[in-house]
Amino acid sequence: MSFVEELRLPDLVRPFIRKIASYEGPPIHIMEVCGTHTVAIFRHGLKGLLPPAVKLLSGPGCPVCVTPNEVIDRAIALAAVPGHILVTFGDMMKVPGSYSSLAQAKAEGADVRVVYSPLESIQLARENRSKIVIFFGVGFETTAPTTAACLVEARSASLRNYFFLSAHKLVPPAIGALLTSGDVHVDGLICPGHVSAIIGSKPYEFIARDHGIGCVVTGFEPVDILQALSLLVEMRTSGRPSVVIGYRRAVRPEGNVKAQELMRTVFSVGSSVWRGIGEIPGTGLSLSDEYEGFCATRHLDVKLRPVREAAGCSCGEILRGVKSPPECRLFGTACTPEYPVGPCMVSTEGTCAAWYRYSPSTGAGSGGSSERGA
């Protein structure tokens, strides 16, 4: 069992496509929380296989998209200091802040390094003792344990030249804030598979219990997503919402306890600002007292220009599922992947980027209208 090949056989999706296609009730709005799901849905052309009554909305699950300009500006400012090495995941390179991006800063001479693993930042700190290495920690609960592990290593190696800029966020309370806001009408949630591999399924129980909305913790193969959609349609029809783990091969109800413990040691939870949504309590990870010495914001002084937001950018509404990309007046004209105004367009899993690239009706090269969905 390779866990991949067998599940990619095209035949496996047919029963679900047929089941969903047979739905004839009132419109159902299903939100996929996770950006990776947004991209998977588009890459496999799933929307076109669904009946019109089943509508998909994208949620705020793109950690790149929800990082506010202020944090990006700080990362750029830190990178620009001579003697600093700013280390980042590739995802953040092209994202525009108030005035620039990390890619632009690199072009202007800042020492910015892209890594696949945060472990490489530890290596860089060891090899460049005369420089200050700052790791830009973006990502949700999937990634936070990996940066936490690096900080533990930095501490035990007494690395004096290693610092951390945290942009980590937590997902479940953000979903709660979104549902409570009443801004968006959601009948079912496709919950992030890999975040849940870490946190388990329990954190979503309040959604079914308090909001009456079904949740399926979903993997990323087309068959996983279609199975989840089928289950959510059924839950809605039967009026019995619950939390179900669809991605059983990777997610246990209790999640990865070791990873959770590591996060609790290295990070403390507070509120954080989500671009377009605002401050949400209980969603930000900053360094705990024990690890506070690594905090770049605290210990590395940089001057920031006034933070500003791009005029006309609808990323906030798109992240909340209130608007779809074609409904943003900048979409495809002033805002494209080459000249992104907001992060939803430039992030590899940003809703606007996915829509722009992949959607047959409004995607690149089409003369399509600005209708929702493909």
Partner: protein, 350 residues
Amino acid sequence: MSVSHSRVLLAHGSGGKLASELLSTIFLPPFANPILKTMDDSAVCPFMDEVSTSGGKEPLEIRVAFTTDSYVVKPLFFPGGDIGRLAVCGTVNDLSMVGANPRYLSAAFIVEEGLPTSCLRRVVGSMKKAAREAGVSIVTGDTKVVERGSVDGLFINTAGIGLVPPGRKVSGALVQEGDSVILSGPVANHGISVLLERERMGFVGTVQSDVAPLNHLVSRMFETCPNLRALRDPTRGGVATSLVEISRQSGVTIRIFEEKIPIDPDVAGACEILGYDPLYVANEGKLLAFVPRAEAPLVVEAMRSIEQGRGAVVIGEVTGGPDARVLMTTRIGGTRVVDMLSGGQFPRIC
């Protein structure tokens, strides 16, 4: 805010949209001429001559294909090849893509002070070998040495010329509805090979680059199918970018089938781990061919008889449709748009 491109970014060299923008805003307008505008892999330059026949003198048009490319690959040596092999094959292939028979190359070297001469010898030896494989001669060249730090070890520029046989017309602008799209073999080997060699990123083991001369393959293809419409080697920007370029040149919709696209399992694995889309990764020993549908099976069979075409397969077709775009039927029967590469790809966690 809109990030202004007041400076040249690395993304401008990645062969995607930003690269073509650089071209269209900075280079093409001042140099404007009809040959340049065709934007195929090589320029086809007509020379008029006269030939004596029994009826007197008749005009004769000789078409010289002419191309140039600079090679700045890092690292200089990678599994399956090196900068020298790349420099010869890249130019040979660009000539082949317009239907020319490559004959003569130039090679100009910009060497960083301090480069070991053994390294230079090794590169030159590799170029000799590649030239012999392709049946071309390197007939002129130049060498410059620059101060330490000015270039990364070694940069090479090659230019090449060859004749396009009379009557042969091959161009990305000639593709028609009903044509079949053929890919000569598995994708993404070169880009992944070089990336893994340059930045380990935790990978163990190597992937072989596919860098190879394609002129013998192309000759065989023309023997079988003189009506070949278009050829393109999907280098920087990958198969996707080449297909989009052609769809725009000819103003057609191209539909490809995800399940038909060949990829080696280790290359697929590396792409999955890094989050790279193999359709956008560079190839240096592959070609895309557009042929009339009826002739596709024969062409594929002919290709498979040549080393470089062993993995040849039909991956799609040119359909009707008012828009010049590329659509892909996904493995599960959905449809998605295939766009050009925007800037470079980066390894990602999301």
